[in-house]
Amino acid sequence: MYALVRGGRVSLSEGAIASVGGRLFTTSSRTLAPAVKSKKELDAKKAKDKRLERREAKKRLDSKKPAKSSPLFMDISNALRYLRAAEVGRPVKEASISIQTAIISERGTAPLQGAVRFPKPLKETRILCLSLDPEKKQEALDAGATAADDTSFIDAVSEGGAVDLNYDKIIATPDIEPMLRKIARVLGPRGLMPSAKKGTVTNEVGNLISGALGTQPFRERNSNVSLTVGRCDFMDEDVIKNVLATSKAVRDAISGIKSKKPILIGRTVLSSTHGPGIVINF
């Protein structure tokens, strides 16, 4: 036996002499010499970095040019004429109009995110507000509720008359809540019955409605922000209003982010499901 055991105890990291069942053996970790990159590789990396940098600088420069300089530029109403033509004969739900905006930011900056509230929402949420307080009712209507009513609605439903129940949500204030039990049998099966547990019985009517009306969240992916802003059957003005709202929301989101270099907005493309992309002002 040539292996030496000093003191009977050997740690593996030190000398890698171990004993298992009386036998002695050694292990050694393979040490590699640090990889020396050849000059060619280093040069290639440098050139790649430079190319990326140049591309970034060009992007920044391009984003300062007006959208009009693009050969594919059009105003929105003209662009919509082309998109509607491209979308002819498609089901209404399928033919959506979307927007894509390039965001030019430093590498490592947190991705842009925020939410838009469209003046013309893609899906309309019908909300009814029930309250005894006229002020609350006014507040609800201002926040975007479809209708506001008081005990007359409850009486009409309990008498079994023809009442418009085409709502997605009914919100009530605590003062009217005890009277609602009369019509719980009608509202319950439809899932409309307000309850404190669901959070639909509250005094803060305005906040609840504006929250429930739905804001469209957006997020930066692959340095682009894309969002659906309308359908092909929308009026031109509605689409323009939605695009303006998106523009404002994106700019707001940008102003909230801290970064060394300013975040720029590149070119914006309006497109539809099956249609071509057209550059627009944003």
Binding site: S69, P71, Y82, V88, P276
Partner: protein, 153 residues
Amino acid sequence: MPYQKIAENLRPLLIKGLPKSKVYKQLAHLNLIANYEGSAYRFNDVSKLELIFKKMNAYGHMGARKFWMNNLRTINFHNPQLPIEVHRVECATKEEQMNCPSVLKVYLKDGQIKSIDCKSKQHQDIMKELVELTKAEKVPEEEIPVLKDEAEK
């Protein structure tokens, strides 16, 4: 998913003979929407167009599909107020497929309903028949927008 470049021979040939450059190809696409060959007409006497055909090409339904993809776009571009409906029928069995009609229904403003049989016809021929039937008015060349690159001008 990062953008992956597709080899030239693997790309689907949607419309043949368009320029290779991205911008020029897009311009050509837009110009095709505005002015597809022989379909820039205004239909003043028509109140509605309805196209019915099968979902798959077989048994003579290709002409109707091509008519929808090519000509109807241009018709819509020049008649924005004209409602156009397209129904694509799903047929499971072969018998249904053989019996499925391929029709272009034309609702005239005076209440008449006329129909053009599109089975085993080419889309150019359907377009010609439609123009003859409705006596549509041709859009003058100078009113059709043509997009060009600034540098090309």
